[in-house]
């Protein structure tokens, strides 16, 4: 299993693979900050300059970073912060407060968190605040007391910025922007959001205090760039302990990326989404197939991983239904075809199913109404069918109106894959009219 050791730089394959897994998993799963921001240099420069002005010259700023999910907003910010922290002056000067809209769900919690992150707890500790506003006033006092020259600048990072706009009266945002507008303690407010219409959410008085500076991260990635990114993401760095192995690995990755079938698959992924996260998911699935006995990524792995990514979840679920439940689904499909998507109830479905059984005149699927009811309820539990709003609990269960949540093609695809599907059921599904 292990290669013979030739030089100091050689490691057994097992250890190499462990290293590879370690390095690449760091990249795909931990969202490790890359050395240089790829594709967003202009935005990086802009943001870095802005924050530097706050940190060094004490100039207050507010900015929003807007971009779809997985576009690299957090990555950009982390990159900027890392570069910013390299300067000594900034390092000892700048205070950071990180808030997340998912965690700080109202202003009271947010205020507590700010206090904690600024390590003002001991100052606040012996004071008793009557209300939220008093607490806020105290904190603001602490912030306001300073002026541009003497006090330390504070950086506020608000992740999921749009959620903060839902807080009552938007008090926190109002006050933060208000401080950033006036010549008080220098603060920089950086909001990250995926909503393009985020400014519409802000109240007028909040909006007018915001600097209206926005950094857009709308990916303009082309396919060759996408391919290149896949390759760099999978490649090993130069400082990998075993040079020989790294070279082999990198050249094999290059070969994979040039493979025709892999390119087709990646093109498909590129067309559906070009964000980092989806790509990482695909690459992670490829990586998980690498083992000691198979120490490279082969085109087949990419194809398999992409098949997993693209598999239709609902069709997968249909595969596991019992034959009775499948028959009910087909009956619903026919009802949908006949009545052009009007909702249906259990009685209609059962009737449609009975028509099919009459034509076949076999007793194989003769089930009692309660058994069919149970199957129907199971489908409802799986949310493959859904009650129409408004038809309340007052109607009997068998007359409750339902809608089918499946597509025609999904049903057909599932039927093709269904294990040991009886031919007559298949034909029934194919036939144009029930």
């Amino acid at each position: 299993m292990s290669k013979r050791k030739v030089g100091a730089a050689h490691m057994p394959v097992g250890e190499c693979i462990t290293q590879v897994q370690e390095i690449l998993r760091q990249r795909f799963c931990r969202q490790r900050v890359p050395d240089r921001p790829g594709g967003v240099e202009a935005q990086h420069k802009h943001l870095l300059g802005l924050l530097k002005r706050t940190a060094v010259h004490g100039e207050s700023n507010s900015v929003l970073i807007v971009g779809p999910r997985g576009a690299g907003k957090t990555m950009l910010l982390k990159c900027v912060l890392r570069d910013l922290m390299e300067e000594k002056e900034v390092q000892k000067n700048l205070l950071q407060v990180h808030l997340n809209g998912l965690l700080q769900t109202d202003d009271r919690i947010a205020l507590k968190e700010i206090t904690r992150q600024l390590s003002l707890e001991n100052v606040v500790g012996d004071k008793v605040f009557g209300s939220f506003s008093e607490n806020l006033v105290f904190l603001l006092e602490a912030l306001k007391k300073g002026d541009r020259s003497s006090s330390r600048p504070v950086l506020f990072v608000l992740d999921e910025f749009d959620l903060f706009a839902h807080h009552k009266n938007q008090t926190l945002l109002y006050n933060l922007f208000d401080v950033s507008q006036s010549a008080q303690t220098p603060i920089a407010v950086v909001g990250l959001t995926c909503r393009l219409d985020v400014l519409e959410l802000l109240e007028k008085r909040v909006k007018s205090r915001f600097s209206h500076r926005q950094i857009h991260l709308l990916s303009s990635l082309t396919f060759p760039q996408y391919l290149e990114r896949v390759q760099t993401q999978l490649s090993l760095p130069d400082d990998f302990p075993d040079e020989n192995f790294a070279q082999n690995w990198n050249s094999s990755i290059k070969a994979v990326c040039e493979d025709k079938s892999v390119r087709d698959v990646l093109q498909r992924h590129f067309n559906s989404s070009k964000d980092h996260r989806t790509m990482n998911m695909l690459l992670m699935l490829c990586l998980s197939r690498v083992s000691v006995s198979k120490p490279t990524i082969k085109p087949a792995d990419v194809l398999e991983a992409s098949r997993m990514c693209f598999s239709d979840a609902k069709a997968n679920m249909l595969h596991g239904l019992s034959i009775l439940e499948l028959c009910l689904i087909i009956a619903m499909k026919h009802l949908n075809d006949i009545y052009e998507g009007e909702p249906f109830n259990l009685q209609m479905v059962h009737n449609e199913f009975k028509k099919f059984l009459h034509r076949k005149s076999s007793s194989m699927y003769n089930f009692e109404q309660p058994v069919i009811m149970k199957a129907f309820e199971h489908l409802q539990q799986l949310e493959l069918i859904r009650p129409v709003d408004g038809s309340s609990a007052k109607t009997q269960r068998e007359y409750q109106l339902m809608r089918l949540m499946l597509d025609h093609s999904q049903i057909m695809e599932a039927l093709q894959k269904y294990p040991q599907c009886p031919t007559d059921v298949k034909q029934w599904a194919m036939s144009a009219f029930g």
């Binding site: 969202q31 999910r69 998911m281 979840a313 109830n345 089930f367 007052k394 040991q420």
Partner: protein
């Protein structure tokens, strides 16, 4: 009948599977012995276990921040995870979302399993997500993860009903707490139904396919009591699957049914009537019994205790065993029965046909005219229609035999029928003088009722003419 074949081929299959299994479950960083044990505990789920293990990687390596596993009920989602995490002794917290009536319980459970009970007590009285993350980070800085920590959320579909930000936060928990932690969500509903409005961190989707018939047979056969031979038991399972497989593929339910009915299957054997190899006779004996079980036990109309009692009863006297589904037990006053019948007729017959049914000399109504069959669907498909009180009473007076005065007792019987939920009141404002009703009973029920008062209801129903 396909009963005869199994037994010997199955054992061969199993040994082949086993050798394949150990080949699949290989992952550096874990002891060979343990992996072997895991493989033995997970029959027919070797592919899934292998995939999951390779995604998890070595204990100290990072894993994907959130993994979403979906598949039908009893397709081994929780089982595979539990066996993997327990046997390999990985740090994990298992939370069932059914138990977590409030998020506090969820937070406590996670902190408890990762950091011990001191950590859980650090949470304030009604903790928010922010508090949880704060405590977690604080604890985690004291005892950083040497191995990936796993949080398993069972029945994750219930997370949708809690705070809107809980699910998105859990999905990116690794980023929020900056720890080597992976959240695994288990559900039987597809991911598309989970995605919040503004999107969230997309988890890695994994599908656990259902067990095939052969696999079900293999797993169920393992429950055999040692006093019976393997072939005998697997032929029983085969018969059971023959009856139930087309309706139910839930392993747990099948297992329950198998355990309940096995004694009946063995009965002829104990009496010495049949040899255990004579599968045909055994099948003849058990098949009607299983069909009856489908109508009763499977629908939960009788409990398993009742079912066992019924089986013993049957030995003494072969009386008809009825499920509780026969609604003949409902006893109503004489006039209430007629009121209910009248309500049923009013609900399911169009009003224009009342003349034809209830007026003695209705003149000539052409049959072809009367039966407008271009109305596509019958009323028994669409459900009951609402009707006014006047119509109910008019029909009532013409169906009941004797003359009845419209006394208060009749009206009170109507309202008690509403309380029994046999009629429902259609709420349209507060119309005191002209309330509208709907009949809420099934055809079987009303047939049973009308039989007790010798009323042939089918003759009066428009749908059955």
């Amino acid at each position: 009948m396909v009963v005869v074949v199994l037994g010997a081929p199955g054992t061969i299959l199993r040994s082949v599977m086993r050798s394949k299994m150990t080949a699949l479950l290989q992952q550096p960083g874990y002891e060979e012995e343990r992996l072997q044990r895991v493989a033995e505990k997970l029959p027919c789920r070797d592919v899934q276990a292998g995939l999951l293990l390779s995604l998890m990687g070595q204990p100290q390596q990072y894993s994907f921040p959130s993994i979403f596993i979906y598949g039908h009920r009893a397709s081994g989602k929780s089982h595979v995870l539990q066996v993997l995490l327990k046997e390999l002794e990985l740090p994990h917290a298992t939370v069932s979302c059914v138990e977590c009536v409030s998020v506090v319980l969820l937070f406590e459970q996670v902190l408890l399993s990762f950091f011990g009970c001191d950590a859980a007590s650090l949470l304030p009285r009604s903790p928010s997500l922010s508090d949880f993350v704060r405590v977690y980070r604080q604890q985690c800085s004291q005892s950083p993860a040497k191995q990936t920590r796993y949080i398993v959320m069972e029945k994750a579909e219930l997370l949708r009903d809690t705070d809107a930000n809980l699910l998105p936060a859990l999905l990116r928990l690794q980023e929020l707490v900056e720890d080597n932690v992976t959240v695994i969500l288990l559900s039987e509903i597809v991911w598309d139904k989970f995605r919040p409005n503004t999107g969230c961190f997309e988890p890695l989707l994994l599908h656990f396919p259902d067990y095939s018939k052969g696999e079900l047979q293999q797993i169920l056969s393992q429950d055999r009591h040692p006093s019976y031979s393997a072939e005998f038991y697997s032929s029983y399972i085969n018969i059971l699957l023959g009856v139930f497989y087309s309706v139910c593929r839930d392993l747990r339910e099948l297992r329950h049914l198998a355990a309940l009915n096995f004694s009946k299957f063995c009965e002829p054997l104990a009496e010495g009537k049949v040899k255990d190899t004579d599968t045909h006779k055994l099948w003849r004996n058990i098949e009607p019994h299983l069909k009856k079980a489908m109508q009763t036990v499977y629908l939960r109309e009788v409990s398993s205790l009742q079912w066992e009692q019924m089986q013993q009863m049957e030995e003494k006297e072969t009386g008809t065993v009825r499920g509780l589904s026969a609604h003949t037990h409902v006893e109503l006053p004489y006039y209430s029965k007629f009121l209910l019948i009248a309500a049923y007729l009013a609900s399911y017959n169009p009003a224009r046909t009342d003349k034809r049914f209830f007026v003695k000399h209705h003149g000539k109504i052409k049959k072809t005219n009367f039966l407008k069959k271009n109305e596509k669907t019958s009323n028994h498909l669409l459900g009951p229609k609402p009707f006014p009180l006047d119509r109910l009473l008019a029909i009532f007076y013409s169906v009941v035999d004797s003359r009845v005065a419209p006394t208060a007792s009749i009206f009170s019987q109507i309202s008690s029928l509403v309380t029994l939920q046999l009629l429902t009141k259609v709420s349209q404002g507060d119309l005191l003088d002209a309330p509208k009703f709907k009949c809420a009973v099934s055809l079987d029920f009303i047939c049973a009722i009308s039989r007790t008062v010798n009323f042939e209801i089918l003759k009066y129903l428009y749908d059955f003419l």
